[in-house]
Amino acid sequence: MARTISYREALNEALRQEMHRDSSVIVMGEDNAGGAGAPGADDAWGGVLGVTKGLYHEFPGRVLDTPISESAFVGAAIGAATRGMRPVAELMFIDFMGVCFDQIFNQAAKFRYMFGGKAVTPVVIRTMYGAGLRAAAQHSQSLYPIFTTVPGLKVVVPSSPYEAKGLLAQAIRDDDPVIFCEHKAMYDAVGEVPEESYTIPFGEANIVREGEDVTIVAFGRMVSVAAQAADELAASGVQADVLDPRTTSPLDTESILESVENTGRLVVVDEATPRCNLATDVAALVAKEAFGALRAPIEMVTAPHTPVPFSDALEDLYIPDAQRVVNATKSVVQWQR
């Protein structure tokens, strides 16, 4: 049980196990094998960060390199999904949604509704998001809130290797289109992951840590930041209930409300920019549904309303860190009318 692997390995293992389990699962994306048509090795990369490495030879004909042509291959994954396949397309960086969003939000997301409930589109779009690799403004954004607003899409933000494997398996077996957002700074994060296949259902928050004083809801990589903050807070006597919703759509509103009913205080940690993000969404939910339970104003810890900067000095300020979460939480806990 106590096997420890990385986030990257967990994703690779989920893909491998699902491809073994179901021959309709295919993988496609830019350099997902790596080296197509080139004179050297034909499994050279396994995706730009190596998530699909090794699958090309294990599953002949089922790992497809694509031209740099996101509209075409994301659309192709969607089209194939309507005809009995379960494609997993890799949209390398979430920032590239700008060149293929029509296929995702006008086509895949709407088929089932537009076509009167008769369409099934089991496509998974894996994509990297998040800051921290000095990748600058067009390769570092946390754009999952945009997808979250679209009815018909499910949106996943796995926060650990265990979560990554089980949620990706669920995404692949799920019959709806899923946007699967992997944080690029987490690929080397390690954790315990069962060797067996398993699925984690969507819409059920993980209770990362239990506490009575304040609820901290965090998404994706911010879950580990919140957990670190919670450890520091515990040392000063503040016990935080840390929730990882796992999916932003569907969102486990019940667990969030249940926790806030108990603690009376809420901090939301979201790496996205501050307008119309998951922090505002959760804050609005709690303000509306649990107003009576609140004992202090809600705090939101987010990135600033700017593009992601390049210089490490600026990027480190941009990304919410444990200290900001600690400060925000203390201000909530210490708040007095």
């Binding site: 309709s24 295919i26 004909g61 089922r62 497809l64 694509t66 031209p67 042509s69 509209s71 075409a72 291959f73 994301v74 659309g75 192709a76 994954a77 969607i78 089209g79 194939a80 999904a81 309507t82 005809r83 009995g84 396949m85 494609p87 060149v99 029509d102 296929q103 006008n106 086509q107 709407k110 088929f111 089932r112 509704y113 537009m114 076509f115 009167g116 409930g117 008769k118 369409a119 099934v120 009815p151 018909g152 499910k154 799920d174 019959d175 709806d176 819409g203 569907p250």
Partner: protein, 331 residues
């Protein structure tokens, strides 16, 4: 191995095949003219884009297709739907926004679909279909069933990046895909002679390493032949083809379009080029079909469309309970 269907060579359709093709074209024509008339009464909601005049394209291509094959369509999708076997009665109900419609009133004219028939939907996004067809063609290839995907798109969509990307991807992956550019002369109100920088849309095929073919879109037999070659090649692993079908539409871009941008090409086309007229002349002159057989089809189609409209008008609308269903398979 790839299974191939025996496809009659172009021009070698038997009497039954010819009669089917005529019935399809006639159904599209009467359906569209009736929608035109009914729209004018104000009873049909939303935007409607009619296919009348273009019947030979959908029919000539889809007469080669079967259940393995899928098509993607455009705003102007009624004809593609009928040619791929979607029920005109359900289509009419959909256009009226009724619960009995193909999409239970949730899609409307611009999104009529029937995935069980391999019809991936009329599409409200210009250039939305070609990437999807790369996918259905890929699925057929993976499933090794000899199926093909056909993307119908207009001259407007021929300038969209999605279309051009799809042409490239289809060639790179050697997909069993056929791209049918229906050049009716106008993208909305803009002339294709102005907006398409090449002389012909089909000329672009060379840039994507695939054959490009130009056909007379008013001639069912020309379309049928060109499509037959392309589809046979695709089924046998020969890769994609771009077919440009040239013709004009009989109505405006949408119903209500005053068409001030147009010359008098419609009157000339209706009079001299019309696909139904030419089809009837050719098959009766050659002795392949009796005029009376065609007349029978005409009256059967008239009755079908009449009842489709009657049923659509009488059908219930969806209700509040339908508003939030069918978003997800499970949520």
């Amino acid at each position: 191995m790839t299974e191939t269907l025996s496809t009659p060579a172009a021009g070698e359709l038997n009497a039954e095949g010819l009669l089917d093709a005529y019935r399809t074209m006639r159904t599209i024509r009467v359906f569209e003219e009736r929608v035109h008339d009914e729209f004018a009464t104000g009873e049909i909601p939303g935007f409607v884009h009619l296919y009348a005049g273009e019947e030979a394209s959908a029919t000539g291509v889809c007469s080669h297709l079967d259940a393995r094959d899928s098509i993607a369509s455009t705003h102007r999708g009624h004809g593609h739907c009928i040619a791929k076997g979607v029920d005109p009665v359900e289509m009419m109900a959909e256009i009226y926004g009724k619960r009995t419609g193909s999409c239970h009133g949730k899609g409307g004219s611009m999104h009529i679909a029937d995935l069980s028939k391999g019809m991936l939907g009329a599409n409200g996004i210009v250039g939305g279909g070609p990437p999807l067809i790369c996918g259905t063609a890929l699925a057929a290839k993976q499933q090794n069933n000899g199926g093909v995907g056909v993307a119908f798109f207009g001259d407007g969509a021929s300038n969209q990046g999605t279309t051009l990307e799809s042409l490239n991807l289809a060639s790179v992956w050697n997909l069993p895909a056929i791209f049918v550019a229906e050049n009716n002369g106008y993208a909305e109100a803009t002339a294709s002679t102005w907006s398409v920088a090449a002389d012909n849309i089909a000329d672009r095929a060379a840039g994507f390493g695939m054959p490009g073919v130009i056909v007379d879109g008013f001639d069912f037999f020309a379309v049928h032949e060109a499509a037959g070659e392309a589809i046979s090649r695709a089924r046998e692993g020969g890769g994609p083809t771009l077919i440009e079908v040239k013709f004009t539409r009989y109505f405006g871009h949408f119903e209500g379009d005053q068409q001030a941008y147009r010359a008098d090409e419609v009157a000339n086309a209706r009079d001299k080029l019309d696909c139904l007229k030419r089809f009837r002349a050719r098959v009766t002159e050659s002795g392949q079909l009796e005029s009376s057989a065609l007349d029978t089809v005409d009256s059967e189609v008239a009755a079908l469309i009449e009842s489709a409209v009657t049923e659509a008008k009488a059908a219930p609308k969806p209700t509040g309970v339908d508003l939030e269903t069918d978003v997800y398979v499970s949520y």
